[in-house]
Symmetry: C2
DNA sequence: TATTGTTATACTCTATAACTATA
DNA sequence: TATAGTTATAGAGTATAACAATA
């Protein structure tokens, strides 16, 4: 690796970290308007795009230990945003679903998040946007 | 906006969130090997690439409120990783610097993080990597 | 008056391990 | 035995506001 490539690698690293903060901070910014924490906001957004989700899958999506997720879901349930439902076929499994209020909040927060991301990405030329989509999806599935 | 573009926008949003988690979770994974939390790991990495940093700038870099940063720096200082230094020219300003131990830890964790990011990005074809670099840097400065 | 940073409080989040229930 | 999820505990991180020191 040449020195120039090393420096560019360094720049790319810092830029990726900055981008990551920017993206996850959106849940914070947007959640505040609904008196939700960043994690609660991401929780309802993650549920609404999937309809209902197993606890285990939610943990993977949000990079949370199962015990941490239990607490997060407890608090969201107390707030009336979601409910737990046992799976009748495999009673070890718990599904997370939105309440009516949770659905309403999730619709708006999720709309806000995607709008903000769209605006961020929309500032790019169309060709860059296409390559970003391709690249990010490839990374995300790697 | 066509429906296809809307769906792709949705996919891009989810992929960006997944990528953001992946990137920030690196600080978690790597810090664990040195018995550091993710935030402590990012703290020493942020300091080492800049030599020394003002509290205010650190807050912007790490997306932290000044009060939260005070606590994080307190704990890192207790652990002997960093020290605070008053700026003699503007005594309101506090600079954060690494101790010898902090420098040693930061060298290794920062090396690990950039290596992991390089590996992640390195799985891409050269052309995608170039476009990602360009795009991410443009987003990060926007 | 504005800026930089700290302190105080209450709450949320996180890591770890031990535990229960189901398969 | 393995899997899905909960509980318990201690510590770390976070939001908010009030505060002190300096410019």
């Amino acid at each position: 690796m040449t020195e120039i490539e090393a420096v560019r690698g360094e720049e790319l690293s810092q830029a990726l970290v900055g981008l990551a903060h920017h993206v996850l901070h959106l849940f914070n910014d947007i959640g505040r308007g609904y008196d939700l924490t960043a994690q609660q906001t991401e929780l309802v957004c993650a549920v609404i795009v999937r309809g209902r989700v197993r606890m285990g899958d939610l943990g993977k999506i949000m990079h949370l230990e199962k015990s941490n997720l239990s607490g997060l879901v407890d608090r969201a349930e107390k707030r009336g945003l979601i409910v737990r439902a046992r799976d009748p076929k495999d009673r070890r499994v718990t599904w997370v679903e939105l309440t009516e209020e949770g659905h309403s909040v999730a619709m708006r927060t999720h709309g806000d998040v995607t709008e903000r991301l769209r605006r961020l990405v929309g500032e790019l030329p169309a060709e860059d946007r296409r390559s970003l989509t391709t690249v990010v999806e490839r990374l995300a599935t790697a």
